[in-house]
């Protein structure tokens, strides 16, 4: 990390402010895509599986991709956020 980066990050208030922004957005960033992934699967179940329409198979695959893709990044993110809050003694 160079001097400019150090200068940008050095103040404690700055650190607290950015973490606050992050925490504010976290539930939205984590929950919404997973919810939408389940909406895709729900749509496949209702109109594809129940009605026996194979056209909806793509919707199922996309739903699974959205959920797995998001959870894959959500877990290490939440873990690092918890660690950061602990390290910073942030309240």
């Amino acid at each position: 990390m160079n001097e400019v980066d150090m200068e940008y990050m050095k103040s404690q208030s700055n650190t607290k402010r950015v973490i606050r922004t992050e925490i504010l957005f976290t539930p939205f960033l984590v929950v919404l895509p997973v919810f939408i992934g389940f909406l895709f699967i729900y749509n496949w179940y209702n109109r594809g599986y129940v009605e026996g329409n194979p056209e909806y198979f793509g919707t199922l695959v996309l739903g699974i991709i959205i959920i797995i893709g998001n959870v894959l990044f959500d877990i290490p993110f939440i873990r690092s956020l918890k660690k950061l809050i602990k390290n910073q003694n942030w309240k």
């Binding site: 990390m1 400019v4 980066d5 150090m6 940008y8 990050m9 050095k10 700055n14 650190t15 402010r17 950015v18 973490i19 922004t21 992050e22 957005f25 960033l29 984590v30 919404l32 895509p33 939408i36 992934g37 909406l39 895709f40 749509n43 209702n46 109109r47 056209e55 909806y56 793509g58 919707t59 695959v61 996309l62 991709i65 959205i66 893709g69 998001n70 894959l72 990044f73 959500d74 290490p76 993110f77 690092s80 956020l81 660690k83 950061l84 390290n87 910073q88």
Partner: protein, 240 residues
């Protein structure tokens, strides 16, 4: 005299030790914040997959009005926010995950939002869906591969990941067309991601470059003797 010198030396040693400790703590704090911002950027990218709900929303008049107005309104808000940040009305401190080089230039999230809006509005669904997936999931996955392994893996794995998204989105098309589109699309996405331009962000290029390449194929589909693939996402019906 000697005692005074010894005392000064001892004090200096203590000060150096304290300074080293402070530097160590600061470095630890900065590194943990950098590590966290890294995952925040990844999650922010993956969050973009939520925009695919645009195609899932029921086909009703009032929803179509919302679908027409909400994406550009989001983009306008993002642009206003970015102008405010660049002009100094809003502090950059509120923009977590912003890269250092983005502090004095347009943030990548503006390019990201602009590209998604262009795809949703101007490109057919079979082109827009895989391009959005490439930016939202392919880009962070390529970033992780670059972060953990050598650059050689980036090209191979990045190409395969993007190709998978195009294969899934075009699985209803003729097999030859599906493979052609997947190769061209994955190639475009990889070039868009790997090739960096100072004036435009890779979040824009990874979406628009493959989309433009596929638009040419799309225009030539009938001339090549194929038929247009059907959509992969259909509007949902209300449960009631």
């Amino acid at each position: 005299m000697l005692k005074v010198k010894e005392k000064i030396l001892e004090d200096t040693k203590k000060r150096i030790k304290n300074t080293k400790k402070k530097i160590g703590d600061a470095r630890k704090k900065i590194n943990s914040l950098e590590y966290d911002a890294h995952w925040y950027r990844r999650v922010f990218h993956a969050f973009g997959t939520s925009f695919l709900v645009y195609y899932l929303l029921p086909n009703e008049e009032w929803i179509n009005i919302l679908k027409f107005w909400i994406p550009p309104i989001i983009l306008i808000i993002v642009i206003i926010l970015e102008i405010s940040r660049l002009k100094g009305f809003v502090s950059s401190d509120h923009f977590f995950g912003l890269r250092m080089y983005e502090k004095n230039r347009i943030g990548s999230y503006v390019f990201f939002a602009l590209a998604i809006l262009m795809l949703l509005r101007f490109f057919p669904q079979p082109i827009a869906v895989p391009c959005i997936l490439c930016a939202c999931l392919g880009d962070p996955l390529i970033g992780e591969i670059r972060y953990r392994f050598s650059i050689r893996y980036v090209y191979v794995m990045g190409f395969l990941i993007c190709m998978l998204f195009f294969l899934i989105s075009w699985y209803k098309a003729d097999p030859f067309l599906m493979i052609l589109v997947s190769i061209v699309g994955a190639f475009g996405a990889l070039i868009g991601e790997v090739k960096k331009f100072w004036w435009i962000d890779d979040d824009f290029m990874i979406q628009i470059l493959p989309a433009v390449l596929l638009a040419f194929i799309w225009l030539a589909i009938l001339h090549l003797g194929f038929s247009y693939p059907s959509e992969i996402i259909f509007p949902a019906l209300w449960p009631w």
